[in-house]
Structure formats: structure tokens, C-alpha cells
């Protein structure tokens, strides 16, 4: 049955150029400084991609058909016979929030760096900032992908 396999094959062929474009974009955006026209323009490209992705997603979205063959979000379907849990993530998030709050109120910032001060530190290095851009792009993709 070649039909159902065509679309995944086409998607696979798109992966390399899309990843290459994302890497190039991340490196270019990471090379800019905030509050400059270059940073505004390049960040706007990412925002435009977000708008395009959201529009495509909303246009393509249809009510989920009922029935066992309907499928659903990939992350939401547990393996047969097992249920997957997000509890470890929730616990980790709670610890991160607690530690962030402690650092925020403990001060001074130089002794207790918060996440935002860590991101300011990381942004001094282009490769670290590029990783932050890639993480942002990945999150955006996760929010709009089928």
C-alpha cells in the first residue's frame, strides 16, 4: 500500500533542510544583540513562522473522529497495557520553581543567580544563545505540530 507511506516519506525528505534552516537561523539570531534592528528583524522571522504554523494548524484541525482507529496526539496515546506519567516532570518543575523563588528572594543576584540571570550569562556566548534559540524553536514546533 504505497499511499499511506508517501506522506511520511515526503516529511522525512523535509527534515534535513528544515533542521539546516533552523540551525542557520539560530546561529544568525544568536549573533545579534537585543534592541538592534537586526535582532528585531530576525526575531520577527521566528514570530512569522509561529503565526504561519498556528494558522496551518488551525485550518487543518478537524474534530477528532470517534473510534479506536481514530488515533490522537502522539504524546497522549500510551503504549498498550501501560500508562505513561508526567509526575516526574511535575515534581521537577516544583523543585525548579522553589529553587528559583529561593534565589530570587535570597539575593544578592551575584551569589544566587536566577534563571533570567543565567540566561543573560548564557547569551554572552553565541553558541549557548543559539541553543536557546533552538530550544525556543523546538517548543514552538511542539505547540503547532499535528
Amino acid at each position: 500500500m504505497p499511499g499511506p507511506h508517501r506522506r511520511p516519506a515526503a516529511r522525512t525528505a523535509l527534515v534535513a533542510p528544515v533542521v539546516a534552516a533552523a540551525l542557520a537561523y539560530a546561529w544568525l539570531l544568536a549573533g545579534t544583540r537585543p534592541f538592534t534592528p537586526a535582532a528585531d528583524a530576525l526575531a520577527a522571522v521566528g514570530l512569522a513562522a509561529g503565526v504561519a504554523g498556528l494558522t496551518l494548524r488551525l485550518v487543518a484541525a478537524r474534530p477528532a473522529p470517534a473510534g479506536p482507529e481514530a488515533g490522537g496526539p502522539r504524546d497522549a496515546s500510551p503504549p498498550a497495557g501501560r500508562s505513561r506519567t508526567v509526575l516526574p516532570w511535575v515534581a521537577l518543575l516544583a523543585v525548579v520553581v522553589a529553587w528559583e523563588l529561593f534565589c530570587y528572594v535570597a539575593g544578592p543576584r551575584v551569589a544566587h543567580p536566577t534563571l533570567s540571570s543565567l540566561s543573560d550569562l548564557a547569551a554572552r556566548y553565541q553558541w549557548l544563545k543559539a541553543l536557546m534559540v533552538l530550544a525556543w524553536l523546538w517548543l514552538g514546533w511542539e505547540l503547532v505540530r499535528p
Binding site: L29, T32, P34, F35, A39, D40, L42, A43, A44, G46, L47, G50, V51, G53, L54, R57, L58, A61, A64, G72, P73, D75, A76, P78, P79, R82, S83, R84, T85, V86, P88, W89, L92, V95, V96, W99, C103, A106, V110, A111, H112, P113, L118, S119, K129, M132, V133, W136, L139, G140, E142, L143, V144
Partner: protein
Amino acid sequence: MSWRDVTFAAWALLAAAVVVLAVLSVAPRSPVAGPLAPLRAYLASHRVARAVVVVAWMWAGWHLFAR
């Protein structure tokens, strides 16, 4: 060892925990789900919520990298 060292070490430990959970969540037959699984399941049937979350994502990128 200063407080700054302790704070950095704690952040590094938390970052390592994120990596470990991320690896576990993509492992076959792992009981750990991806971190976005509940959010994605919710957004699958809530169009307005998806739009709101994507706008928040856009604001975060603008704030982090442009202004």
C-alpha cells in the same frame, strides 16, 4: 565553597535531571511521558487555547532575543 558555587551546582543538577527525564521519556516502553504530553492533549481539542499558548511562545521569543 561560596553560595554562588552552591547555586550554580544546584542549577546544574536540575539541568541534568531535565536531560535524564527527557531521555527516559523517549525510551521505548518508558513509563515517563514527554513533558508536553498533557498540554498537547489539551490543545488538540482547544483551538483558542492553542492560539493563546502560541502567542505566549511568540512573546517569550521576542522578549528573550529581541527586546
